[in-house]
Amino acid sequence: MSVMKRLSGIVQAKTNKLLDKAEDPRESLDLSYQKQLESLQKVRRSVADVTTAKKRIELQASQLQTQADKLQSQAKAALTQGNEDLAREALARRAALADQLTELETQHQQVQAQETKLIDTAQKLQTQVDSFRTKKETMKATYTAAEAQTKIGEAVSGISESMSDAGMSMQRAQDKIDGMQARAGAMDELLASGALTDLTNPVDDIQAQLDKASTTSAVDDQLAALKAEVAVGSAPPAAELPAAESGDAPS
């Protein structure tokens, strides 16, 4: 069996269908051109959608990165305070964020690839539409000439076959675009659902513990300084007392 003969039969069938429908091929040509322009618009919108999805992923990645950096410095601060358990907790959370970042990176690559494909499709489609605009005028002129010479039959089936081909090309581009749009939409939903954001805004209990520890340590310092003063001089300056009193309670 032959691919080329079978395809020829298929294109013929499409062409016959087209001929059955069309009253004047010149009108179908204009209609077909309109449809192509619409497709082009659709592709351009898809490009914009995918670019938005890409930017969202980038924003999320940068938020995650900030959070990871923060946890890193918190771990360091905890160690400085001698709180190894807290440092371990901070590092564990940081590791979880790193996993998410890797996942985001993978998704970024996918979206990037989609964007590239869509831009490429838009460019090809633009070329196709431009050339069709010229070609359809030629087709219309040929049809008009053939009509005048009563050679209309062959010209019509030839022109119609070209239109079938153009239609199949457009359908094909459209199918590809729909597929890409579906994937971009799924990605967008995933991002919007917040499935990826769980760890970006945790209640910062690590920072709370660090702050508490450093407050306590500041109070301890003040207390020690005060104790030293009290021990050295039996008459401390009155002005210093109110400040020291406020820090007195926790100890």
């Binding site: 069996m1 032959s2 691919v3 080329m4 003969k5 079978r6 395809l7 020829s8 039969g9 298929i10 294109v11 013929q12 069938a13 499409k14 062409t15 010229t134 070609k135 030629t138 087709m139 002129a141 040929t142 062959e154 010209a155 089936s157 030839g158 022109i159 076959e161 070209s162 081909d165 199949m168 090309s169 094909r172």
Partner: protein
């Protein structure tokens, strides 16, 4: 003989050179039937190269029905299978 490459245009191939094309065509068909993706891509490339090599592009203002039709040059195996399953394919092959 007029051959159309889908999405590209028509080529006029002078009469008797079609035995090479027929050979390439059946290799392509075999690849479709066995589902061999890489064999399919290679066969399609070869077929299209042969049409371009031996044919003369048909002028834009000349419209004649094609005798043979070649799949889109960047077709996948899957896509071509789908296309061949469309109406007209079976009757087209039984006729000849």
């Amino acid at each position: 003989m007029i051959v159309r490459i889908l999405g590209e245009g028509q080529y006029d191939i002078a009469g008797a050179e079609s035995s090479v094309l027929e050979g390439l065509d059946s290799v392509l068909m075999e690849a479709v039937e066995t589902g061999d993706e890489s064999a399919f891509a290679a066969a399609l490339d070869a077929l299209i190269a042969e049409v371009r090599r031996t044919g003369t592009p048909v002028a834009d203002d000349s419209f004649a029905p094609s005798d043979l039709v070649v799949p889109f040059s960047d077709s996948t195996l899957e896509e071509t299978k789908g296309l061949l399953a469309e109406p007209g394919g079976e009757t087209g092959s039984e006729d000849r």
